[in-house]
Subunit: 432 residues, 4 copies
């Protein structure tokens, strides 16, 4: 079965033809340099081709803040249009073969139809995301004061049932994981008991866990604040670890790069969670102030590299235990979401390939000898290497675009969908 391609393959080929000569020149030069450093560039290119990060279905809509949302042109109005946009991202960038759904935003009557639509584009389904931080029309209980940790058992039961439904839907779509992020917390000292809230959360999550299939994973996501502004039930990796441990082996911790207190060393948290068997995966994005949900690598690319340095190290030391889930989770308020997602996937991939350049055996030696300068230099020389030619070559070899943003613009996709999809004034699916 041929894969449905939203962008003309000829256009991509034509564009690549114009760029391949310069790319080959850069690639050859980089290959020569890496060869002197004892590294085979083709191994890196293959690794880049094998790298994948999931697209969140809501990411293809324009995001907003509590103050306003400024819609973009041709925003997808439903999961089918979202899938089309995700297919563009994957066709051009070749690093995003799966889509992560959000229920109820992406709920449809015919799941088999949805599954076929995705596979028609060559796309699979990543983790399911439940939503107990908003009230839906049909809902009998309100999440205003919490969901899985609510003081009222009826609310907790509704939230549990919703999570179980997400699993059920996911099973029909071929997903293998459920991500649970709750907004539960308080805005005032005294509003709730920290301990009783956490007890209720754990109890409710045990009911969810009981419904997690044996070949599934349950990801728990922590966040220091927002939407709750005094306390949050799963506020940091400490509480996340406790919860995942209480639940059992299918549960593990999901790290969103924007969900920590200022100054926190996130790469160290990644190492700790892996060491103790609870690193579930990532929501990639970047931030300067809080959960800004900016494009990955746009604010602090070195931090992203340091995170991947831990991941590459983890995989080397315990490949049998290494299986983290990668997803982008961003809010595209002022850019074209398709462009931002293509670009962000590249930045995540860039950090991964740079991390592969680290000479781990030399590094371990410097660490043993406390040769701090050389240890640091080992990381920096990997990071300073411009691996752009590797990333471009990986895309080109996989059938994508050497310069996917340029190709996207040339293809006129945004204007075309702009005509088919009338503008929406609502908050859309982009607000997360």
């Amino acid at each position: 079965m041929s894969v449905k391609a939203p962008i003309s393959a000829d256009l991509i080929a034509e564009q690549n033809d114009a760029e391949i000569s310069a790319l080959e020149s850069d690639y050859t030069a980089l290959g020569a340099q890496l060869s002197r450093r004892g590294i085979d560039i083709d191994v890196l290119t293959k690794a880049a081709m094998n790298f994948a990060v999931a697209i969140p279905s809501w990411g293809v809509g324009t995001g907003g803040t509590r103050f306003a949302r400024f819609p973009g042109i041709g925003e997808p109005r439903n999961i089918y249009e979202k899938l089309a946009d995700c297919a563009v991202i994957q066709q051009l960038g070749r690093a995003t073969p799966t889509v992560s759904l959000h229920i109820p935003w992406d709920k449809v009557d015919e799941l088999s139809e949805l599954r076929e639509a995705a596979s028609g584009y060559g796309l699979g389904f990543d983790a399911m995301n439940s939503n107990t931080f908003q009230d839906q029309d049909a809902q009998s209980q309100s999440y205003k004061f919490g969901s899985l940790s609510h003081s009222d058992a009826a609310v907790r039961e509704q939230a549990v049932a919703h999570n179980l439904e997400c699993i059920e839907i996911g099973q029909k779509l071929g997903s293998k994981a459920l991500t649970v992020w709750i907004g539960d917390g308080t805005n005032f000292p005294g509003q709730q008991s920290f301990t009783r809230s956490f007890e209720r959360y754990l109890s409710a999550m045990k009911s969810v866990y009981a419904g997690v299939p044996d070949d599934w994973k349950l990801f728990i996501e922590h966040k220091i604040f927002e939407p709750a502004f005094y306390s949050t039930v799963i506020q940091d990796w400490g509480s996340n670890y406790l919860a995942a441990t209480e639940l059992g082996p299918k549960a593990s911790c999901l790290v969103d790069l924007g969900h920590h207190a200022p100054n926190v060393n996130i790469e160290m948290i990644v190492a700790r969670l892996f060491q103790f068997g609870k690193l579930g995966g990532f929501h990639f994005n970047d931030s300067k102030y809080g959960d800004d949900d900016l494009d990955s690598g746009s604010i602090n690319p070195y931090q992203l590299f340091l995170v991947f340095n831990e991941l590459v190290d983890a995989e080397r030391h315990a490949p049998e235990k290494f299986d983290p889930a990668y997803m982008l989770d961003q809010s595209h308020n002022v850019t074209d979401p398709i462009e931002s997602l293509i670009s962000s996937a590249i930045e995540v991939q860039r950090a991964y390939v740079q991390a592969l350049l680290v000479d781990h055996s030399a590094l371990a030696g410097y660490q043993d000898e406390n040769d701090v300068m050389m240890a640091n230099r080992t990381l920096k020389s990997a990071y300073n290497t411009d691996v752009s030619p590797i990333l471009a070559m990986a895309r080109q070899k996989a059938g994508g675009a050497i310069d996917p943003i340029v190709a996207f613009r040339k293809a006129g996709y945004r204007d075309a969908v702009g005509k088919q999809r009338p503008a929406s004034k609502g908050s859309g699916g982009g607000i997360v």
Copy 2:
């Protein structure tokens, strides 16, 4: 003309009757203690009675976050209903005689009718607030990429015209000030030039300033982030000061307690702005993480006291220059907005009265001698004093409720308006 009172005066009187005896006992005891400290309690009570902080019209709606808004019961659907709610707050709490409007949210065709409605409740109008951080239906230009600092002159002109319209409306309502807060900024390094943006902002603001009547003030509000997540044009008091200075004497700086970087000493900024003639006023609220817009005094009440310690000190040293505008600016997501506003006004008033207790002459002496312990103790002994009886007595003497939250609940106002005002699903006016 008698003032229209939403709550039955008899109910308040009856409630006060039940509480006055205990209050008088506490008041007398506190008076005796203060007398030993050389302070006349009645002077403080009068000061408390004279204290006022404005209510933002949008504050009586339920707020929300980018994730969700959970509407409350009986939310006001227009400025007239908002005024009724503000009247309740003032009737019971007696510290909030004015309302600050937000245009276009509060725009009406007949301004004279609005003015009469307010004066019917005994309410006046505080500063006008313009809005160039959202797009309105009728608007020709979009603020997606900025307003007063936008790269396109047409957008800047639209934003200037809107601010001038706000002044025009305010003049008809008896307001004497315009507050300009813009969300302009960027989400990506490189998105805009910091310098050119600020130049355009200053140029546009000069056009606004030209329209500010001579007996008006122009307040500029700074904020470190949100809705922009990489840079903000008026990001801190430094840029605010520069802008207010460039504009002229009618312009000054407005301090929102939640708009600063973590750890920043806000009371010191207050002192600096006053020293250099640019302290315009305050948006009071409290916060733990960012612009959380929590109830005043609910997270760090000592900080609020320290701010008022600077204000009381400023007034003592240069009363002729001291005229700051006080407003509450909060987002009530999980409480009844009327209760939160009553309670918050009391907390601001509490900090003010506690600050009045500081023995400034002793303090100055300790400072000169570097007797750090006694200097600090001078502040702490003022702060530790429970001035609740003074605040309650001030309310009672002014015709308000000794315990306004209890009185409000007894009055059944929320249930009553709940029947008249059907629930709204929209984002309402509460999201700021």
Copy 3:
């Protein structure tokens, strides 16, 4: 045996005589108010009298920063002089019956003599503190690159042996706990492997743990940064919990209020640690920016109250599991350390007594009903109560001073020791 009293009992009595009448008046008035709230003031006074927080031996010296230390007058030159100063603190304030030693700073040849000196003052010994963050003259291995987590086994062994020696000394002195804080960490990405460092730390700590007597406790202290500025081995409560859990039931977590990332909700961490059986105790101080080690309650007294609100709640719910260790840990750079320690102990005691005022049963009801306003108000009305008369009465009844700072100054102790103890230019024992 009568206790040796550094300050004349007559002077204290005389001073108290001058203040008792005003105190009794305030106490009676407060008692009346509390009685209306259903609270027996004498119960609180007794609780205040039973409250105790340990003094760190190094706290009686003047502290400093990396930039400078400005010595005070009459600083103690050895542990015997430190004990004398601690005796003053306890004699006047009556809330600090024990002293926490730091090895090697307080090491002496004759431990029995030291024990007698302490008991002569009526003082006991709290937790022992080891030091592997500095190099001592006689030491064969350097801690420049770490101690318990060092890459070299010889360094780790030296650090283990030192901790075991601290236990040995403590056993002879009647101490029942060892506190382990290490400065181990890195200043550069790549300097050390997060995982291997933690493995080595755990392995070394297991050797220490093996030497912890059965009736002792082992407290592990976490800290986000300083002296290491990129990563720290025990950087937060998450790593602390993991370490304490790996070690076993004698190990638990120690919370220093200044050792967290900005904005972190510390009272919530306290609740989590207690819930999971690992709350060992506290190092009390206050801070605005980092590990500022300021006087307790001097920056954010409401936070201190909220911490005690958790502690009082914990004790109520599981008294059999509740046994946290309390210590002050501050750096007194610009005040007289004796005055700061007296005053800080009072502030901690104040927070405790205020927390006792919280109506927990009402609070639980409001929490169950999500009556956020009343839940918060329940805390605030406790906090707003001025419990100073209770604290003063507790001191007076226990033989201390109603106003201990005033009494201390009248006694002329500082001038007297100033004559006996020549000024030191060195960094002294005050730098922690």
Copy 4:
């Protein structure tokens, strides 16, 4: 006159010979790539050769924290030995032709001798640094409670006189600037009046300013905290700007990258200060938590690039006004200070050359059109370019080492001075 060279020129040449072939290969390849982007690599190499950043004399000693200092081998014991170390840095790295002195640490009797020693190494003197944050033996007044802002006029006069002496010394050495950083501030609310402290500071600084020669500059350095932990007199760029403006045109603001609140956008402050004519210069270093004084570019290299992007932009727009002073200001606690300073100068130079790669005219166009993606990509493509070959070639052409760290180690300089300079236990000159 030939310049005295601490490292054998032959060794450097030999080392370069072994590396030049690989460098030329990389340089040629990069040149080809840049040529396709319309950039002449040789222009960049010349710019890199012209780039200079000053070495602080105290930076060649090992730094420490308030907890400990772990001395290195062969630390310089006086300014002459420090100059020798600075000469090594400049000989190998070729980006650091000047040294910034600190008085009284570097005070000598014969200034002409010192000047000759420096010029013998081919080194000049950058800004003078005064010290009123420590007490010196001979000093009559103590800075414990402040210096230029102290409540006592005698202390302020002493601090003014010291600054004037620094100018006098600097004039004899050929320096052209004085940098004033004070530690003045408070640890307790109430300790000092913010306003009176600032008034005293301004008054004292006017006396210093009066002594600043017409061809000199006066740099004022701000810092949010440390050594003061509640408030600091020159706490941020706002107060810094006010002070520099009050003083006059010779005064301007110095930005230390580690002296800001968490999350603050420093590159924006740089732009603002330049726009308003008050950007004096920089103290370069990197930090994760506070004033960590880590090696430049070691924590957030992209931020350093963004700062230089502003500087390059400023120079392009107003070259006649552009003359900032660049200095490294770091604390080398765990590395060889010579290696760290060489490496840090390269990292600063790297950011500068990367910033030169930004296509400013394209960027301005994208900004005008709000093409956010392309604007950001314009910065990122400059930043992602590995300019290491340009930096190495610039060193090689200027007579330095292609790989200066390797050359330094081969030269055996550290071991050699280790034999000449016995270890010191004191705090040394490295603690800043």
